[in-house]
Amino acid sequence: MVRFVPTICPYCGAGCGILLVAGNGAVVDTRPWSEHPVSEGKLCIKGYNAHEFIYHPDRLKTPLIREGDSFNEIGWEQAIKLVAGKLSETRDRNGPDSLAFMSSSKCTNEDSYLLQKFARVVIGTNNIDQCARLCHMSTVVGLGAAFGSGAMTNSIADIEEAGCVFIIGSDTMSQHPLVARRIVKARENGARIILADPRRIQVSRFADMHLRHKPGTDVALLNGMMKYILERGLEDRDFISRRTEGFEALEQALADLSLDEVEKITGVPKGEIEAAAQLYAEAEASCIIYAMGITQHTTGTDNVLSLANLAMLTGNIGRPGCGVNPLRGHNNVQGACDVGALAEFLPGYQAVADEQKRKAVAQAWGVAELPASPGFTAVEMMNAAVEGRVKAMYIMGENPMVSDPDIGHVEQALNALDFLVVQDIFLTETARLADIVLPASSWAERDGTFTGTDRRVQRLRQAAEPLGQSRPDWAIICELAGEMKAGDSFAFSSTAQIFDEMKKVTPQYAGMSFARLEQPAGLQWPCPREDHPGTSILHVEQFTRGKGKFHPVVYRAAAENPDKEFPFILTTGRIMSQWHSRSMTGRSPTLNAESPEGYVEINPDDARKLGVADRAMVEVRSRRGTVQTRARVTDRVAAGVVFMPFHFAEAAANRLTNAALDPVAKIPEFKVCAVALKTVK
């Protein structure tokens, strides 16, 4: 006999509902869930195979301790004692800021909430971050500044209402397929589709326009569109005057811009820029969809601000079918940020530096004070470890040894630590460097909540018992806190209890509870009161910050540009059937079989000049490293640009990428660096 357990897909931020099929105490399959408002009975290949890695033989079943170059099994009690002892010792000897914590966008809200509370309360440091820093921190900062809230303004289903969909820097068909479905439906309803992307991705097959700009020139492109809109008087004067401030500054900044110059920078013909601007500005409702092609740049925050400018300029905020819609990568990257697993924010984006807010949270947690200065962010942690300022690190469910930029540097950092704990479901590339490894139970084996990209807080439901001795992340943290004499603040026996505390310090979640979430649609934040239905569209009457604020942005080139020695631009991304560092998909036979190995896409013209044949081995070299991988000769990339998926440890694109940071959001520039190519004999 089988049971169908409704829960949420563990892969992307679309947050599709799935039914885990459980029989004989184990999860055996995944089926689509019809009643779920995002996926409506459909899934992508990742969702369909979400169960495949659960019982992979590599699952960690007991805690492990390093002995020289290998690991030995130890019991939980001993493991907890050792970790607690080491963390206390490091804190007492070198101060709280000598420890750093990395939470995970894959774990539940309850896990992330507890880990940040542990860092702040038990250790006393704000050194807590997670991979949101690497994907959408520029969104959090940029949209936060422009609108007052760094989240997707509209909802996934709402895209169907658009008259024009402008997709920039998002391979939606492969990375958020169930969001792409709404673009398809919008098109069936008559919407026009504009794609801006350096690569000829699948959306381009049905888009009305494809602007193929050079990687890293988004600000120039968007400024060009705004310039044309102003020239033609297509802006929404009424919206600008009623709802926004700072418009004059934008006008001034654009005054001297020439579209010929923009054409030169972006490589997109002026006429196309104008046509796209016109389509976007004239539609009844225009919706912007973007992802990491916008955010992962040293100008990531500028890119996001430019999108906010474009939407406000044309009054495309606060109505159905419009908005600025970042698509968050991981299933719970939205939630991990919401609940405070960020170096500068307490739960609910309350700045640690804001004394009043800090005091209020401290009071709710029953502690005298909380650390006041922002901690190290993800990449800064690694730098601090190399410099010897961070001595011990606790990594929960992340694999920076594949997913961070400049992995050589990450390896150096992790090896420099006195003590590294990794808590994961597999012995990942990162876990292999740990002193102690703690086995976590998988998402199918526990309860909790995930928050999808459209701010939808949804219940995860346990479909099977934890494998071996693995435990849910939150339970491990509670044990540790108990061992470190902080048990009173961590006396939780269920995720529902954690949620009840969490909502008290996370204003956006205040009106939610597990009981209210017991419905397929979950609840979209903000949900301030118990009788509040949740919010599907933000900034309807006014912006979260009151008035929307224009931030004029001037185009800056990427940190590293092609030159004689490194003549190609390398851009990186993901592919349909793999996920990030492949710790899950690489262990899912169906998914892995689709694309088992890495490659580099090279334009046919370039390939001819270099003498590279399709599927031949090539060496790709940047200032930071060298990898060998197979060439795919394809016109998906333009001449002068090459693309590598970053999933594959053996041909790790992130040995090449540049860890240069966006000055505000501290997000690294994954999307542009300069490389040289040559054939391998």
């Binding site: 169908f4 055996v28 459909k42 992508c44 479905r181 439906k185 419905q519 592919i575």
Partner: protein, 342 residues
């Protein structure tokens, strides 16, 4: 209150109680009233959750083939397309017909996008307790083309009347035994009038297929290619289809036919499934309902099976002893159906 669910529930409860079957497979309530999930039930207590609304989120035939134990006796609540799917699955030896106890429900269509608790009748519909004229646009496209409202291949067949009565017909000897355990009085039903449904089916088949057949050959090719351009090879259509029950499927990358990791996949992906399912498609619509990219796949499959069926005088899902003209479908047949792509 769920319409007539009591009668159906009662029959199923009796069968479980008397150990006529080991397990019951049906649709039931999930998290909320409108959340309909498949249920595999062995405990009489769970029978209360079963519903009979005109909303079927998946093919129970497929689920039985996928998760059922073929050596167990199972009662399955089926609509006509489910029953026909099971007949086709039985021909492929994935289920043992002697172990299946089919409780049929007459079906005049199901809705794809739910608007509440919906019951569809021959010429009207009830939405959240309110009766109104039937809006054909609300029906799932395959249902509009369906000419088999009565599950004659089920052991018993229940007709839910707009007024709330449930009329039961016995179709087989097994059916008699099934009814013997029920504690509610069951009435014998007069035959259903299916003329209106046949008319509707003919009209929609003409519209859906005719639109495509009337295209110029090149235009027709472009139409399908532009549809397949959106395919993300999720395999959802295959995984939903009661005909696709192969343990090893030719469409998977390690079989060497379709390249892994290419999106959209080559047109061959669709051509292969089409030739494999071809003449056996029972028009259950599940492939299309599962397609994340809104590709009208069931229209294509239904059209092919109709064409091929008329050539070979074969109608899938009606008779377990009539075997499909498998492998008899060749390119020429495909051409006749207008699916002459690549």
């Amino acid at each position: 209150m769920a319409k007539c669910a009591e009668v159906v529930q009662d029959i199923l409860r009796g069968m479980l109680r008397e150990r006529l079957v080991d397990e019951v497979v049906a649709f039931g309530r999930g998290l909320t009233g409108s959340d309909i999930l498949p249920l595999f039930i062995t405990d009489e207590q769970d029978i209360d959750r079963i519903v009979t609304t005109s909303y079927c989120p998946s093919s129970l035939a497929k689920l039985v083939a996928r998760y059922g134990d073929r050596n167990k006796k199972m009662a399955i609540v089926v609509r006509s397309c489910d029953a026909r799917g099971l007949v086709e699955i039985a021909k492929r030896r994935q289920v043992k017909p002697e172990n299946l106890y089919l409780v049929g429900i007459e079906c005049y269509g199901v809705v794809r996008e739910k608007r509440g608790e919906v019951y569809i009748f021959a010429d009207k519909m009830e939405v959240d307790g309110e009766m109104m004229p039937l809006d054909e646009a609300a029906l799932s496209p395959n249902c509009r083309r369906c000419e088999y409202p009565v599950p004659t291949m089920a052991d018993i067949s229940c007709r839910i009347e707009p007024e709330g009565d449930c009329l039961v017909t016995v179709n087989t000897e097994k059916g008699k035994a099934m009814l013997a355990t029920a504690s509610v009085p069951v009435q014998d039903a007069p035959p259903s009038d299916v003329a209106a449904i046949k008319e509707r089916a003919a009209r929609w088949q003409e519209k859906d297929f005719g639109d495509i057949k009337r295209m110029e050959p090149g235009e027709r090719l472009d139409y399908w290619l532009s549809q397949f351009d959106r395919c993300i090879k999720c395999y959802g259509c295959r995984d939903a289809c009661p005909i696709c029950v192969c343990k090893e499927c030719c469409l998977e990358p390690d079989r060497g036919l379709i390249k892994g990791g290419e999106y959209p996949p080559e047109t061959l992906f669709h051509a292969v499934r089409l030739t494999h399912v071809g003449e056996s498609c029972v028009n259950c619509g599940q492939c299309e309902a599962a397609c994340p990219m809104e590709i009208p796949v069931s229209k294509l499959y239904h059209m092919l099976s109709k064409e091929v069926g008329s050539i070979f005088n074969y109608e899938p899902g009606l008779d377990i002893d009539s075997l499909p003209p498998v492998s008899m479908v060749d390119e020429e047949d495909l051409l006749k159906t207008g699916v002459d792509f690549g």
